[in-house]
């Protein structure tokens, strides 16, 4: 299958000043020479513990931060040359914390509406206010939210509903690729399943591709056919999820799989 996103030799180092007056800097290799690709219509899993650099990769792809070295290609075009609008048209992100990812002072209609307007501007469509409202309602219905919440504010919703709003905002751009950075790890278990199923439905309906970042190996294995294991800024293992789970090659991956709590009664 065709590559949608291709990452080549990506490097991102952070420098920390050690003391107040010292000139020695500590280098943190957050992302150290990483290459991988996401195919069209696949969910690629990315696992690793906190501080392994997985969120840095997400931020590099959407250009919230810039790499020191390496290139990212989207459909063979270099992302570095994209305008902010062109990038957002193609790649969107779902965030971890549904409480921090929605502006508390803006209504749901504004949050999603402004994205719809940016999309219309890019595609050159001219939409009336009513048409934008209709579009917002359509998107809300797609993610399983009631359509009469346009003038409500984020604090009126529960964590799961907020995460749906976050997903609606990402979908409003009709992107090709969605980066999901731990989208369910701050939700309750019964809500997690709702969101996971929603993501799977959306993937089929819109033929989306996902980079699914998580620390929960079980979840990644359930969702994705292919996965990457990251450790200290490097990809230590890459392959089919099923295979990695059954027969991990790398020492760290082995340790990771060993330490997943298992329900022994179900084995």
């Amino acid at each position: 299958m065709e590559d949608l996103l291709e990452i080549k030799d990506l490097k991102k180092y952070f420098f920390l000043k050690k003391g107040l007056f010292s000139f020695n800097k500590e280098t943190i290799k957050a992302v150290d020479n990483i290459s991988f690709s996401i195919k069209k219509g696949e969910i690629l899993g990315l696992v690793g513990e906190s501080g392994s650099g997985k969120s840095t990769i997400a931020k590099l792809i959407v250009r919230l931060i810039y790499p020191q070295e390496g290139k990212i290609f989207f459909k063979k075009e270099e992302i570095g040359k994209f305008s902010r609008e062109k990038l957002s048209k193609n790649v969107q992100m779902i965030f971890q914390d549904p409480f921090a990812s929605l502006n508390p002072k803006l209504s749901i209609g504004t949050i999603i509406g402004e994205v719809v307007r940016v999309r219309n501007k890019i595609s050159g469509e001219i939409c009336s206010k009513g048409e934008v409202r209709e579009e917002i309602k359509r998107i809300l219905a797609t993610v399983g939210l009631p359509i009469n919440i346009l003038s409500d504010y984020p604090h009126q919703f529960s964590g799961g509903q907020r995460q749906r709003i976050g997903i609606a905002r990402a979908l409003a751009m009709r992107p090709r690729l969605i980066i999901a950075d731990e989208p369910v790890s701050s939700l309750d278990i019964s809500i997690q399943a709702q969101i996971i199923n929603l993501l799977l439905d959306l993937k089929e309906e819109f033929n989306l591709s996902f980079l699914f970042i998580a620390h929960d190996l079980n979840l990644v294995k359930y969702l994705s056919q292919r996965m990457l294991v990251m450790y200290k800024g490097k990809i230590v293992e890459e392959g089919l999820s099923e295979e990695i789970y059954r027969n991990p090659q790398n020492l760290y991956t082995q340790q990771l799989i060993e330490s997943i709590p298992k329900i022994k009664y179900w084995l």
């Binding site: 513990e49 906190s50 529960s158 799961g160 509903q161 309750d188 278990i189 019964s190 809500i191 997690q192 399943a193 709702q194 996971i196 199923n197 799977l200 620390h215 929960d216 190996l217 079980n218 979840l219 294995k221 359930y222 969702l223 340790q255 990771l256 060993e258 330490s259 997943i260 709590p261 298992k262 329900i263 022994k264 009664y265 179900w266």
Partner: protein, 342 residues
């Protein structure tokens, strides 16, 4: 084994902008000596409130225990002629101080905020040792120091002296959580309450901390209450499990019984929503809707609005029913067969 802690008909309320939040209702629970009891529930179900109530740590400005008893039977078991108050809820401040940390220890979710940043780990461990053990069995400085070192060694810290001299920010999350466990066990509590002890940690550390807790529980013959939202963690080490939903215990049974023969519709679906051992392409079981508002609870069964087997009988008051030996369920339809969902 005999019971060490018994909770009888506990009701807890919080007050939020003049509204009553009913956090726990009619909670009855007993903790046996040397058992590991898992308390499972989603956020806001009242599991942390339960932990705080046991030590009477609910702030009077925020809420209170309105009814019920929490009987600590530890004294009776060790001193037969003990005549003092056994009900933690009616205890005075002096007796409470002995219970808190001394008889019942507690470990919190976030090790970074649970230590005071301006004192070394050693100083903080000394403090609790001085409070609970000086005058009993430790009377010299060197004895206290030795005990602190011993506690740190027990939690598998390789260089205890170095950790003693460190400030909290100098240690990693895993190390700090170990130090907190060391502090909790240094006073030899008979009951240890662990509130989400591994949630803030990485998967690889989670396993280590769980194994450590289990090892300590056996070595020191403590009873352990493990409070968590993570079913897999509970399955790993607990012998008995209590499931809480919207402030009520809805199912209570042995660990294997819960995982293999769950009876309450909520438990059944909760287990079905875990992404374990799922054949490819099959969707997870979903519980529709969200947790009910604790200010405005549904009548009768609290799970009724989200349950697809619900009928009119669910609207009455529902009591716990024993469906198997030691397996209690709060569901009026439990006699009818409702399995095969996962």
């Amino acid at each position: 084994m005999a019971d060490i802690l018994e909770i009888k008909h506990l009701f807890v309320e919080y007050y939020k902008r003049k509204k009553v939040v009913s956090a726990l209702r009619d909670v009855c629970l007993n903790l046996k000596q040397q058992e590991i009891l898992g308390v499972v529930g989603e956020s806001g179900c009242g599991k942390s409130t339960l932990a705080l109530s046991i030590l009477k740590l609910i702030l009077p400005t925020e809420g209170k225990i309105t009814k019920g008893e929490i009987i600590f039977k530890g004294y009776e078991l060790w001193e037969e002629d003990y005549l003092g108050d056994k009900n933690i809820i009616s205890m005075g401040d002096d007796s409470l101080r002995k219970i808190r940390g001394g008889e019942i220890g507690m470990i919190f979710q976030d090790p970074f905020t649970s230590f005071n940043p301006v004192f070394t780990i050693g100083e903080q461990i000394y403090e609790s040792l001085v409070l609970h053990r000086v005058g009993k069995d430790l009377n010299t400085y060197s004895a206290i120091h030795k005990e602190a070192i011993n506690s740190l060694k027990r939690v598998m810290i390789a260089s205890p002296q170095q950790v003693m001299n460190s400030y909290p920010h100098q240690l990693s999350g895993g190390m700090l959580q170990r130090a907190m466990i060391a502090m909790a066990i240094s006073c030899r509590p008979k009951v240890l309450i662990a509130d989400e002890p591994t949630t803030a940690l990485d998967v690889t550390l989670q396993k280590e901390i769980l194994d450590l807790l289990k090892k300590l529980q056996q070595e020191l013959s403590m009873s352990l209450i493990l409070i968590t939202h993570n079913l897999a963690i509970v399955a790993e080490i607990c012998t008995r499990i209590v499931v809480i939903y919207a402030g009520e215990i809805i199912e209570e049974a042995g660990s294997e019984e819960i995982f293999c023969r769950p009876r309450h519709p909520y438990t059944i679906r909760l287990l079905g929503s875990l992404p374990y051992l799922k054949p490819e392409g099959k969707r997870l079981v979903v519980i529709p809707g969200t947790i009910p508002d604790l200010i405005d609870l549904p009548v009768g069964c609290k799970f009724y609005p989200r349950c697809d087997e619900a009928s009119d009988t669910c609207l009455q008051k529902i009591n716990m029913k024993e469906v198997n030996k030691g397996h209690f369920v709060r569901c009026c339809r439990v006699k009818e067969e409702i399995d095969g969902l996962y």
